[in-house]
């Protein structure tokens, strides 16, 4: 569309930025093409897939449906803004659960989930599904993603054991601890040395006791 270019100023991931754009350019394009933030993915350009989910003033929106001019003066947070040098608790949880396959939906899920966790640090399964319903994944089947979000706010002793317990099972209470944190003396450690537990593959490599599979 031929339209005069206008200057816009906004804050992206805590940094003040400016661009000169046609006012009808999609925010998703400006983030990627003007600011080089290619973590925001483009899927459908129609609000149907959620891959381009970003936070505008804290609210999850599809960046493809936001004219960039409308983002002027606002605070935009992209997937790049979720980590601060190290992975966030949410990102670590995705890694631990293997909650990504091809990866194009992952930034959208991370941003949508971070909006939820900001309001509700320990959401139930329904709340997680409500928050993630706007992002489509065609690889993983969602279960690992849902578990990863539910676990993100949990201390290690309250995390869902990724492969051994259905989501519907009650969580171990904080007072009784769990098999991971308070395993009886003499039993085999669940995931081998602590330092390896961050790997999403550690469960398979260390060979958990078959009774726990």
């Amino acid at each position: 569309m031929s339209m005069e270019r206008i200057p816009i100023s906004l804050e992206v991931n805590g940094h003040a930025v400016t661009a000169e754009i046609s006012p009808v350019t999609r925010l998703s394009s400006v983030l990627r093409d003007n600011f080089g933030l290619t973590g925001t993915k483009l899927g459908c350009d129609a609000g149907d897939c959620g891959a381009c989910t970003v936070l505008v003033d804290g609210e999850a929106v599809c960046a493809c449906l936001v004219p960039a001019a409308e983002a002027g003066g606002k605070h935009v947070r992209t997937v790049e803004g979720l980590s601060n040098g190290a992975l966030s608790a949410l990102q670590s949880s995705f890694l631990r659960h293997g909650a990504a396959q091809c990866g194009i939906c992952t930034p959208g899920f991370l941003v949508a989930a971070s909006a939820l966790l900001e309001d509700n640090p320990s959401p139930d399964e329904q709340a997680v599904m409500d928050a993630l319903g706007g992002v489509l994944c065609r690889c993983t089947g969602y279960r690992k993603i849902i578990k990863a979000v539910m676990d993100a706010g949990m201390p290690p002793c309250r995390r869902v054991l990724a492969t051994t317990r259905p989501l519907s099972a009650p969580r171990p209470s904080a007072s009784t601890g769990c098999r991971k944190c308070l395993a009886p003396t003499g039993s085999a450690p669940m995931n081998g040395p602590k330092t390896r537990s961050a790997s999403p593959w550690s469960d398979r490599r260390t060979g958990m006791p078959s009774s726990l599979r």
Binding site: G47, D48, G50, T53, E59, A60, V61, C62, L65, V66, A112, A115, M129, D130, A131, G133, G134, V135, L136
Partner: protein, 229 residues
């Protein structure tokens, strides 16, 4: 009064009387949270999709649209505003600036049900909004039922509404649904469902929505608290 730029999230967060519960339930099912944060009630109406989730809940509230142009403003009942698939009575020089709900239509309790292939990001196969208000004896004094996605424009089921007046909640009211032939509906066969399936689905979700409305009225204390809008 809803301003035209009220988003679905705005509606969800606003404290509204029980007659607006159907609208809130619809607001939770429009697209996804990302869409609810951006999408507006006026956009939903001007787009005039037969499957627009906002239309049935607003029809049972007898909503009117306010259209403004350089020459003045006019009010139209919602059913006179949406004329057909993607067609509205809005002139090119007009903007939809607000929605008005008459106070008389804010009595009782309401419910909304949407049938789709999945919960989110889905175009409705059929949907229904119901609003019921009771008289002092606990009989149905006012019934408003609107079905969407089963005709070019969502419709009020006037014959069923008339049949419900004076009945007791519960089995008596649900009998009226069983007797209803849903003749007003003209569902189509398409990729999402067959016409026959849509007709049966509309009957079933109407029955369920009426039951849920009755439950809400019972919880509220029988006669449906008068709305304080």
């Amino acid at each position: 009064v809803f301003g035209a730029r009220a988003s679905w999230t705005d509606i969800l967060r606003h404290d509204l009387p029980p007659a607006f519960d159907a609208l809130k339930l619809a607001a939770r099912e429009v697209g996804s949270i990302q869409i609810q944060n951006r999408g507006t009630i006026a956009g939903n109406l001007c787009n005039a999709s037969p499957a627009a989730d906002g239309v049935p809940p607003l029809m049972v509230l007898d909503a009117q649209v306010e259209l403004a142009s350089a020459t003045g403003t006019r009010l139209l009942p919602l059913s006179d505003f949406i004329l057909g698939n993607r067609q509205t009575a809005r002139r090119p020089d007009e903007l939809l600036v607000a929605l008005r709900v008459p106070r008389a239509s804010t009595e009782g309790a309401s419910h909304f049900l949407k049938l789709g292939a999945r919960r989110y990001l889905v175009i409705s196969i059929a949907m229904v909004a119901t609003r019921i208000a009771l008289d002092e004896d606990g009989r149905i004094a006012e019934a408003a039922i609107s079905v969407g996605a089963c005709s070019a424009v969502a419709q009020r089921l006037r014959r069923l509404e008339t049949a419900l007046i004076g009945r007791q909640q519960g089995a008596d009211a649900l009998d009226a649904v069983s007797d209803c032939t849903f003749d007003e509906l003209t569902p189509i066969d398409d990729v999402r469902a067959s016409a026959a399936y849509r007709r049966r689905a509309a009957a079933e979700i109407t029955r369920r929505a009426l039951a849920a409305t009755s439950d809400a009225l019972t919880r509220a204390g029988g006669t449906g608290a008068r709305a304080a809008a």
